[in-house]
């Protein structure tokens, strides 16, 4: 079982060029911050390295932070063999959100990323099938989970507000 600091050290040794940070001041767990376009290589390393073996993508969620002008994605990884956990975080610009996909590493990321695209508008590069999943396919009123989202008045003839 490895602690967050040891995992961070392993990552820094193997990816010296990318800017990684470790944040431990907030409750409840330590977060490793990475850059959005290199997250797929980092995740591939975390999945394959023999002392880490993170084979379980527990959760992938997008968060809207309008005050900082960012859209962030949090990855919670776990290992079924070694039983340790780690959290990763990437942030992109709110006006042009682009993050590399991790579907090559874990196939369960497929629908999680589609949901982040559908509700928040984060574009995942090289995703096999990026389209809306929960909202109707012809929904053109924006991305509902953003903080500045406004409800449309009508949708296909039905009144939307109460």
């Amino acid at each position: 079982m490895k602690k967050a600091e040891e995992i961070f050290q392993l990552l820094k040794d193997n990816f010296p060029a990318s800017n990684l940070e470790l944040k431990t001041d907030q409750p409840t767990e330590a977060i490793i911050i990475a850059s959005p376009l290199e997250i797929d290589k980092i995740c591939l390393f975390l999945h394959d390295a023999s002392e880490l073996l993170f084979d379980d993508l527990m959760n992938l969620s997008g968060v809207d932070e309008p005050k900082a002008g960012l859209l962030t994605v949090y990855y919670h990884l776990g290992s079924t063999k070694i039983k340790h956990k780690i959290t990763l975080k990437v942030s992109t610009d709110r006006n042009k959100p682009e993050v590399s996909t991790v579907t090559e590493v874990w196939k369960s990321a497929d629908w999680h990323e589609r949901e982040a695209y559908d509700l928040l508008g984060i574009i995942f590069l090289n995703h096999p099938d990026l389209r809306r999943i929960l909202m109707p396919y012809d929904w053109d009123a924006g991305y509902p989970l953003r903080k500045d989202y406004e409800n449309p008045e009508f949708y296909q003839g039905m009144k939307v507000p109460y």
Binding site: P27, T28, T80, W111
Partner: protein, 371 residues
């Protein structure tokens, strides 16, 4: 001489007697053999995450009930555990024991629905009625505790809404005494029935590596032979005090990881839940169930991820707080949402009638998938 065939697309629409809710499956067929299955979801998207950003922390508990409406106690349990981790509250021991009893009773009732509707999909209608009779007894137990049959709002952050009714312990012990022979009856009716075995064995085989890569968890992963249970591998609450087994699929009538294994793991899990409930009732301490409930919930800035073992798999809550009385972001990692993705892999090469079998064996609930 080979017959020239064309690919046909068949729609198993949102209204269908066997899709366990509003799910649309687009089947690409070559004759009667399936080449591709594309699920379309979102017909029950009820904007749970947007509601969480507008409500205060205690007000979210009834909404978490309504996501996986067959196991609401499990949903509330997960939310309470996540919030108590963020706030740093330690609940009294009596609360922990009662929560475990409720969660295990809920597991029994959820598996009864799963088995009953699975039998009804395959064509056996009688087990459905038998399962629902036992389920009514469990719902009676819940009703005398908190007043509701289906959606409870019982497990609050820091405690419970009501203490146990004075008759609860006696009635639960009676229920378990009556349930064990009923379980044997369901087994004789359905599990070892020749027709049921012919329809479910060797259908929809899920290998372990595929399952872990796709994020499958719960009885579906255990049916493939991998012993993974959050109650033992990443323990929460007081599960480490109880003595119970983790049943896994062994391929008794077919290959390991087929639909029969996934179904039978659920039957065995109900027996294990009975064991846990009996041990918890024997060890139940006294105490006040509402002493640790905070008057006003305003956590520090931070985030937490916690997961529990729901009857359908690992349910995870990711809660981000910004210091105010409502959360900044709540994301629910629903087990059925993640398990739906593996349906395409499971159905390739089988016939149309097997889609119903496979879909019933992975036991999805659309309220959880669409949230």
């Amino acid at each position: 001489m080979a017959i020239k065939t064309e690919e046909m697309v068949l729609n198993m629409g949102p209204q269908h007697p066997s899709t366990h809710g509003v799910l649309r499956l687009e089947l690409a067929l070559e004759g009667e053999i399936i080449t591709n299955v594309i699920p379309h979801i979102g017909y029950l998207h009820r904007c749970f995450e947007k509601h969480c950003e507008a409500m205060t922390y205690p007000q979210i508990v009834p909404y978490t009930d309504r996501m996986d409406y067959l196991a609401p106690m499990g949903n509330e349990f997960g939310y309470a555990i996540a919030m108590e981790k963020l706030l740093g509250i330690q609940v009294p021991e009596r609360v922990e024991y009662i929560r475990v009893i409720m969660a295990e009773l809920q597991r029994i009732s959820s598996h009864l629905v799963a088995l009953g509707t699975y039998g009804a999909d395959i064509g056996a209608f009688t087990p459905f009625l038998y399962c629902f009779i036992d389920r009514e007894k469990v719902l009676n137990l819940f009703e005398i505790t908190c007043g509701a049959r289906l959606l409870y709002n019982y497990i609050w952050i820091g405690g419970l809404s009501h203490d146990l009714h004075p008759d609860f312990i006696r009635k639960t012990r009676e229920f378990i005494k009556e349930f064990r022979p009923n379980l044997k009856e369901i087994n004789d009716l359905l599990s070892h029935n020749r027709i049921f075995i012919d329809r479910t064995a060797n259908v929809g085989i899920l290998p372990i590596d595929t399952a872990i890569n796709y994020g499958v968890s719960g009885p579906n992963l255990r049916g493939s032979g991998f012993k993974w249970d959050i109650r033992k591998d990443d323990p929460y609450s007081i599960y480490s005090k109880f003595d119970f087994d983790i049943p896994v699929g062994e391929g008794k009538y077919g290959t390991v990881g087929d639909s029969w294994d996934r179904y039978y793991v659920r039957v065995l899990e109900m027996e294990e839940s009975c064991k846990i409930i009996e041990q918890a009732l024997d060890q139940l301490p006294e105490g006040d169930v509402q002493s640790a409930i905070p008057k006003r919930i305003k956590p520090v800035v931070g985030n937490v991820y916690a997961r529990v073992e729901n009857p359908r798999g690992d349910l995870g809550y990711f809660i981000m707080s910004d210091g105010s009385t409502s959360p900044y972001r709540v994301k629910v990692r629903a087990p059925s949402f993640v398990t739906m993705q593996v349906l395409n892999e499971l159905c390739k090469g089988y016939m149309v009638a097997d889609v119903v079998t496979i879909l019933g064996s992975i036991d999805i609930v659309l309220g959880e998938i669409d949230r």
